[in-house]
Amino acid sequence: MGVSLEVEGTRFEIEDFLAAEREKDLLRFSTAGSVDDGKSTLIGRLLYDTQSVYEDQVRSIEGKGTTAPGQIDFALLTDGLRAEREQGITIDVAYRYFSTARRKFIIADTPGHEQYTRNMATGASTADAAVVLIDASKGVLIQSRRHAYIASLLRVRQVVVAVNKMDLIDFDEHRFRAIERDFSSVLDAIAADTGTPVERVFVPVSALGGDNVVHRSDAMPWYRGPSLLELLESLPAAHDKLSEHFRFPVQRVLRPDQSFRGFAGQIASGSIRVGDDVTVLPSGRGAKIERIVTWDGDLEEAVAPLSVTLVLDRELDISRGDLIAEAQAPATVARSVRAALVWMDQRPLDVTRRYLLKHTSQTAPAFLSSIDYRTDLTTLAHEPADTLHMNDIGAATINLLRPMALDLYSRNRGTGAFILIDPESNATVAAGMVTAAYASAATREGDETGAWGPVTAGEREARWGHRGAALELTGPQALIDSIERALFAVGAVTTRIDAANDTFLLHPEFLDLAARVQTESGLLALVVHANQSAMLTARVEGLELSLDAENPMRAVAAVHELLRRVGIFISTEKAGL
């Protein structure tokens, strides 16, 4: 179109510029640091020196903050919230964007103090690289170790160690080298513990003066390596999802009319071509890819992480939460997993409670059958633990109340990760990474009391797929039979208590007792009041439903929905319920 512009002193035709933009890839990195180690200043400097900050934003903070008059306090560029500016700290993960001629960058900027572990894990979960800060005047502190540990645990393979405040130690090479030695041995120990190799590179910087941040510094002639930004520009995008096996979690079934049935999702890893053989999990049925549909036209091949819609060559019962996987290398269908956990909630882990486990596009109830250990991040020792507190990292064995198709996190970041949700508060309480998967529910390994002790409610629920409850049904006998038949058909363990029994008529309190005994044993007890009414009433845990008995199909479905609403049944359909 003949529009030209000038960038950094060079004239471009706009079409050339856009063509160059198409060549740029994207690198996400996380940063974390201790209080006062200059992280905000470093990021502010990175943004300012790459001209990623607008003049009005610079004007709005000029002359404010803690620097001398006429200077810019770079930290103010990144402190977003009022409380943060007032207290001079960072509260929450913030995302920043900048771009150079070679790459676009997204920074997940995480604070080093409050809720540090949870924020660092959040930042690291999507990062290709981690920039770990060390204050040169203080040496290696626990926060730097913690950040490196979390980065390694979450499989961020590239660690850039920025040794900051070199100006405070007179740009002394010997002290820099000592820090490099110290922290390298820490990183080796971390890699041995997490099983993920950590590729590391050290760079001496002074964020305040801009030394080695964007431009190489004259103050440290002994350092001949690249600046921090040059390093970030040259790092390989750490996760080559294309070399992993094909994985496609189904997000939604698209069925605009009778002639089209497609499965919408984002390719988690690998690539797929028309004609490829796939296996649908957990059912294990096979099919071939018939079409790869997108709004821009059909594709003959698609690669991770594109969002596409797959059409298969035959009718299979597939719904949200299923996984379409490469037939030659399908995922594991697991009933229990061992996993590394990062606990992120004020309320500590409770092995007697039920949690919801969200993995790809499915959610299922889960019990933590045992806590294997808690990791001491100072010594990297594994300590026995009976709970995990906020910011603790440990490992646990988890029973899944419905089978899930998954991979080990070490092989696949997308299909090996999950979060735990507290079903009462709805808080996200933990991040999990699968380290082992088993086809059967776990018993407490090596734990005598677990293997031989009483069967717990959790174990019953794991086996039967529902918890205990009393469902009171008043209405025509035949309809009540249909309801029980339908529940039985989906695997519910039902029992029947006839309320018209003489014993219960004489002693109504026995009826409650009988229902309670069965409920506590995890059974779904149907308390039946048969009559000739045209209405059916279903009552469970304080919720009541009146239904037209003339429409048995609807009544059966409504009772299912009622049980699902009170949380008796396990469902992956609606997270909002």
Binding site: M1, L26, D56, G80, V93, Q251, P256
Partner: protein, 318 residues
């Protein structure tokens, strides 16, 4: 007639790859946003897409078309009309909804509009509070929406940099920045109690430059006000104020014809134009590169007080 017969030529996804065999950043952003749109549509009972007519909304709408193709967009669009929107915007809105085939809901805080709420008599903060925030909360409650998509981006403003993709709001629609749910990988926690809701930002990771480049590559229609042409404007210092609705001119003040355009679309009394000759998208992109000020700089409302966006968000604004 069956939808989506394979009548379009089959394409190789190598068209999506750059010369190093990698997906470009726009394809990566697109794939991430489509994933978010599909998650929300599948997990919530009653989602809605806030449609503000601007460039970000236009991109979000295109992404929604792509996400559910060949099925229609499975949620309505909602426009909060303050009564101060440019006439061109409203026309564009109606045409777009018709072309896309989406259900369009329009909500106005009629009592406040009837009472003559305007930013000149009230201050801009209270005006926004009534015509935007209150109207939005009323609309969400009226229709019982449990999830609402917004086109906000994290690069727009400092407090937005801390926003989640799924932003939890209590039953009063309020944002608590110090108590946000951690968000790991692409696993979003959409569980809510009755009355609570989630604001969803599928464009969180996009920058202003990404949005314009995507509009260019995808040939997405945008409102003509974004393109420079000679328009009658009141000139007050550096500010160019458009003549729309009941603009109150100063005594003796006369409009002048100025070659200008709008960089972001808001309400006419609070959205200034910029002098510009950028009359095409490539020209806008070229201008953006040479710009040294952020796009919200022309919005009077964000500058009322330090951290004013954060205060509005806490109260329920997007």
């Amino acid at each position: 007639m069956p939808v989506a017969e394979a009548e379009t030529p089959v394409r190789s996804s190598s068209e999506f790859l750059n010369s190093q065999g990698r997906l470009s950043h726009l394809r990566l952003l697109e794939a991430e946003s489509i994933h978010i749109l599909r998650e929300v549509a599948s997990e919530f009972e009653r989602p809605v897409m806030l449609y503000s007519i601007g460039k970000d909304s236009s991109v979000m709408l295109r992404l929604a078309q792509k996400a559910f193709y060949p099925a229609p967009i499975p949620f309505p669009l909602l426009h909060i009309d303050t009564g101060f929107k440019f006439a061109e915007m409203l026309q564009f809105r109606d045409n777009t909804a018709r072309e896309v085939g989406a259900e369009l809901l329009v909500w106005r805080n009629e009592p406040a509009i009837a009472a003559g709420t305007n930013p000149i008599v009230l201050d801009t903060k209270r005006c926004c509070g009534l015509l935007k925030t209150q109207a939005l909360l009323d609309a969400l409650r009226h229709y019982n929406f449990d999830a609402a998509f917004g086109g906000a981006r994290r690069d727009e403003e400092k407090s937005r940099a801390k926003e989640r993709i799924y932003s939890f709001r209590d039953s009063a629609g309020q944002w608590d920045p110090k108590n946000q749910r951690p968000e790991l990988w692409n696993l979003y926690n959409g569980r809510i109690h009755p009355g609570e809701s989630i604001r969803v930002f599928p464009l969180s990771s996009w920058t202003e430059m990404d949005v314009w480049q995507y509009i260019h590559e995808e040939k997405i229609p945008v409102v003509d006000l974004y393109f420079a042409k000679a328009r009658p404007m009141y000139v007050r210092g550096e500010a160019l104020l458009p003549i729309e609705q009941d603009f109150v001119a100063w005594p003796g003040e006369k409009p002048q014809m100025v070659e200008c355009r709008l960089r972001s679309l808001g309400c006419s009394p609070c959205t200034g134009a910029i002098r510009s000759d950028a009359d095409s998208i490539p020209a806008i992109i070229a201008e953006l590169i040479s710009f040294r000020s952020s796009e919200r700089a022309n919005r009077v409302i964000d500058h009322d007080q330090e951290g004013s966006m954060e205060i509005k968000k806490r109260e329920g604004y997007f």
